[in-house]
Subunit: 432 residues, 2 copies
Amino acid sequence: MPDEKVSPAATKITAQEARPERPLRIALFGFGTVGSSVAKILVESKPDGLELAHIFNRDVARKRVDWVPASVNWTEDADAVLASDADVVVELAGGLDPAGDWVRRALEAGKSVVTANKKLIAYHGVELERLAAAQGGHLKYGAAVAGGIPVIPGLEQGLAGDRILRMEGILNGTCNFILSRMEEGAEYAAVLATAQAKGYAEADPTEDVGGFDARAKLAILMRLAMRVVVDPEEIVPKPITAVAAVDFSYARDLGCTIRQVARAEETGGVVAATVGPMLVDLRSPLAWSRGTENMVILTGHYGGDVVFSGHGAGGHPTAVAVVSDLLALAHGSRRVAIPSVPARVGAEFEVPHYIRFLVADRPGIVAEITGALARERINIRAIVQKPGYPASALPFVVTVEPCKSSALKRALASIGKMDCLLEQPLDLQMLE
Amino acid sequence: MPDEKVSPAATKITAQEARPERPLRIALFGFGTVGSSVAKILVESKPDGLELAHIFNRDVARKRVDWVPASVNWTEDADAVLASDADVVVELAGGLDPAGDWVRRALEAGKSVVTANKKLIAYHGVELERLAAAQGGHLKYGAAVAGGIPVIPGLEQGLAGDRILRMEGILNGTCNFILSRMEEGAEYAAVLATAQAKGYAEADPTEDVGGFDARAKLAILMRLAMRVVVDPEEIVPKPITAVAAVDFSYARDLGCTIRQVARAEETGGVVAATVGPMLVDLRSPLAWSRGTENMVILTGHYGGDVVFSGHGAGGHPTAVAVVSDLLALAHGSRRVAIPSVPARVGAEFEVPHYIRFLVADRPGIVAEITGALARERINIRAIVQKPGYPASALPFVVTVEPCKSSALKRALASIGKMDCLLEQPLDLQMLE
């Protein structure tokens, strides 16, 4: 769009008020998948008010592409870019270090920062926001959670007037890819290999399958949605690696499937949060998410449930979130600063559970297990044993009515000592 | 709010700028369901920086409630409120008149306006935004489409960096309530009566069931998503009243259900939009929406599909959107002004269709119908005739492969002249 003054006769709408006198000069830190997608959108769409000025990357020569305007400064010198006239640093290197150092120095220099770095924001977001405010810059991180899905802008701009009481999210595309393929019958190791080949999973998948990635994102959402600042380390994740094919089979019989869910809720001022594989009802939106899709369900005190879903990762969707944050900066859109208070994270939920045992069969097992549950006053909903498994390694499932996590933990600790158990019971929350 | 020219240097804001020195003084125009919910949230949640100052309503005495602070001025005098020191007028009266007059006068006085008025924004949004910009105020209307679901903030803030090519929305809760109940076997007249009793439908339901409400909302979304200013009157709606129980029965056989869908797409610079009952695949998110739920699916050039769903209407969800807009104003968050250009609306889609005929049976009907379709080079996908209907009033269905809307219209005009037809064929787009 050409620059144009607003007049009643004008047919084009221009945003004169919001138009910067010169474009925001952007320095990209990191030219991997997301970085090159951001550059691509800036070059192709030429959004008003944004100018790509610097691209910083280690060993930058191998990164050079010919579709970036010649005016762009390709460099390996972070210090020089941080000392330059760039207005905004777009940090896409990820991890706490050295990304955190670059972000701090950019903010200290009065620049604004746009980042997709969930770990940095989960661990140091509050401190960095304070630094930005003190130095007159802005920190935006719409791409840090659920990439292309505007959950963070939705929370900051559209739901700020509500009080979010509960949230459930599918926040890790790798786990969702693996579990939705396992639902269709694939084996964990084979799907992981496919995910690695497609670039969905790292060589060491621990960060994803262990739940560490999702808990960082959950901590960020908890601050914006439930207005509590939590230490991500206090959210205890359960890895999806404990889930076996037999669990999908039992889950189906229960009208459910299995997804990695990050959930948090506030009850009477107490905050509980956890991440792990959970049984989700086949009629729940969470069950509809397939492949690398992300989904977030927020339950507001006033507004009820709101569901967001879409492509949570990948270069282009994440880059859309980054460019949207840049446009918001260029247009003078300020973050709605949502007040938050520090809180400790508990893990006490009161929900139904699925517990799968693997035993060497002998008489009396069910009596011992149900006895241990009864001692904690936990009501059994169903005991399911599918035919076709050997007595020497027999999987069977007990589902229980909503009970406190702590009570179930005590019962399982006692059950865990039984000599017939071939492995520790797998206990999964059931979402209703 | 003071007018503010934004320059890169001015993108730095201080804590003082982000927080007004005194709270924004709010004047509510309209104290119905949404208005009283807005007041409730303001009184209960006491959001930072917002002060309820005036409540204007006709015959205000009967509206008075005891939970509103005594400092609030209840009044029937719109002129006095518009001349007062209120910073923001929240317009919840709806309709073009006199709401439009109040909004214009508030903006002319340099006040900001927050409104849930889809009709006013669909027909006069561009003019009112210009007025706001010229006078130094702001116009926000996050509640105008899909109430409690942050689609508008999502588009303005989180997806501004993408180019939306296509959208499909369930934008009218009344129609969704009626059609999702009909899917379960209820009759139109009975469900409409229930909807009216529950307050979901007006005594005269034309605005909803005729598609006029949804097309106004579609026009608003088209501007933000596809960046075209369209005349809502150019979007031709098809009423849901044409859909009968037999259509749900046939739809189910085709793996589909029926929803009122508002859709728009841009292909090669040409914009097409329509609203009406459509066949949606049972595996599509659109089929999952039940009751008064709203849903919007946006397909971006870069980011792919993003789905939003939740409670689109009702006092509390809509009020959340209004209060969130107020908070954004209080925090100095500016709208990301999305540039747009005027465009004519076409109705030329190239999609498969479901066509249901009601005939007095005689030999040769299928030959004549298929002949008329063949003359327009329209390929038949399936001809379905369920047993159990009388030959004197026989419903049967033809589905066709994707074809141009104009070609099908010509074929149906020719078929429409057949003497055996008891009513004009019902033709519904099928979403894939």
